[in-house]
């Protein structure tokens, strides 16, 4: 479990102390990294600064993630246009069918987060888009932990199972399990996430898929991948004679 990665730790406000405690707990639980998720894109600069300091302190690989929960496509497009290159991961939690279709279709979105309180079906075309763009589908454990009533928890679990049952079998490896924890109390151990994945009938919690996604997006932001399919291996003086500077993947 060396590659354990929690794809979503929710940061509601930029509380440095809370972020520090969360990072320490994640390191204690032997996570390799985590993505701190916010719904407010304006705090990105301050959040990046804090995350950089915490990464040095704890040795965790921390990514910054933006989550959009709007049902307004125009607003989503505006935010994506402005902030895509500021965040390593961007997810959309669709509240209706139109938004689900948009989240699957738009190339700038990395993760489609499933909301168990509201079942929005994903159709064959959506799954095709998800496959082509190598997007991830996220299942969060937090809603299951936040409810005290067993019947409500059972209903939420049933909704997750319905999505998984209706997904193409070849897409099961695109599901990722995350904690979605807003505080240290709601964090799960890596083995806990693995057990949840096994319970839902998934091949795994998707640690590798989300780590790959973060690494690719970092390369895109830093310019190492200028366009899809091209990776710059050496630049300027580093280029050796007779060697191509740009190699296709």
């Amino acid at each position: 479990m060396k590659d354990a990665y929690d794809g979503c730790v929710v940061v509601r406000d930029r509380d440095d102390e809370l972020l520090r405690v969360l990072s320490i707990r994640l390191a204690e639980m032997r996570y390799r990294g985590a993505a701190f998720s916010t719904t407010n894109p304006r705090i990105v600069k301050a959040l990046r600064k804090t995350v950089k300091r915490l990464s040095k302190e704890t040795g965790l690989d921390i990514a910054v993630r933006l989550e959009l929960t709007t049902t307004n496509q125009g607003y989503a497009k505006k935010v994506l246009r402005k902030y895509r290159r500021s965040f390593e991961l961007i997810s959309i939690q669709p509240g209706n069918r139109a938004m689900a279709s948009f989240a699957c279709r738009d190339r700038r979105v990395d993760i489609v987060t499933l909301n168990p309180a509201r079942y929005v079906p994903l159709y064959r075309g959506d799954w095709e888009y998800l496959r082509e763009e190598e997007k991830l589908v996220e299942i969060r454990v937090y809603p299951l932990l936040a409810v005290a009533d067993t019947l409500i928890a059972a209903k939420l679990l049933g909704t997750y199972s319905l999505w998984i049952a209706r997904a193409p079998k070849t897409m099961l490896n695109r599901f990722v399990i995350t904690s979605g924890a807003p505080s240290p109390r709601y964090l799960l151990t890596p083995l806990g996430l693995l057990d949840v994945a096994a319970m839902l009938g998934l091949p795994g919690p998707g640690f590798k898929a989300i780590t790959e996604k973060v690494n690719i997006n970092r390369d895109k932001i830093s310019g190492i991948i200028p366009v899809p399919g091209v990776r710059i291996l050496r630049r300027g003086d580093d280029a050796r004679e007779g060697e191509e500077e740009v190699c296709a993947d």
């Binding site: 454990v141 932990l145 928890a153 799960l188 083995l191 806990g192 057990d195």
Partner: protein
């Protein structure tokens, strides 16, 4: 002759904001298993508290070997609205080893 039942010992760190007794801890863990897996699941998992170090906030539960994963999942998915929170630290094959690891855990100041 029936085969001997195989067991595992699960070391747990108790995170609590209130004082906890061994009986309450045992009942809470069984309640968690029953909440997720039902009465039939509880009968299969057979969790039993065999060691509790109040000072260190460490407890050892004995469970049926084939259902360790179910037990761990039940504790992970326990509702966080409760003041008690159990985190699995390690699974061992013998009680002696589990108690040895429990006694090496630092004394916790958070548990009352």
């Amino acid at each position: 002759m029936p085969a001997r039942e195989k067991r595992r010992y699960v070391l747990i760190k108790v995170e609590s904001t209130v004082a906890v007794t061994a009986e309450a801890l045992d009942a809470y863990a069984k309640g968690c298993v029953q909440r997720l897996l039902g009465v039939a699941g509880l009968a299969r998992v057979k969790p039993k508290l065999v060691h509790f170090d109040e000072e260190r906030g460490a407890a050892v539960f004995r469970v049926a070997r084939d259902y360790v994963r179910d037990f761990r999942l039940s504790l992970e998915l326990a509702p966080r609205t409760s003041p008690l929170l159990l985190r699995v630290v390690r699974v061992t094959g013998t009680m002696r080893k589990a108690v040895r690891v429990a006694s090496s855990m630092p004394k916790s100041s958070g548990n009352k």
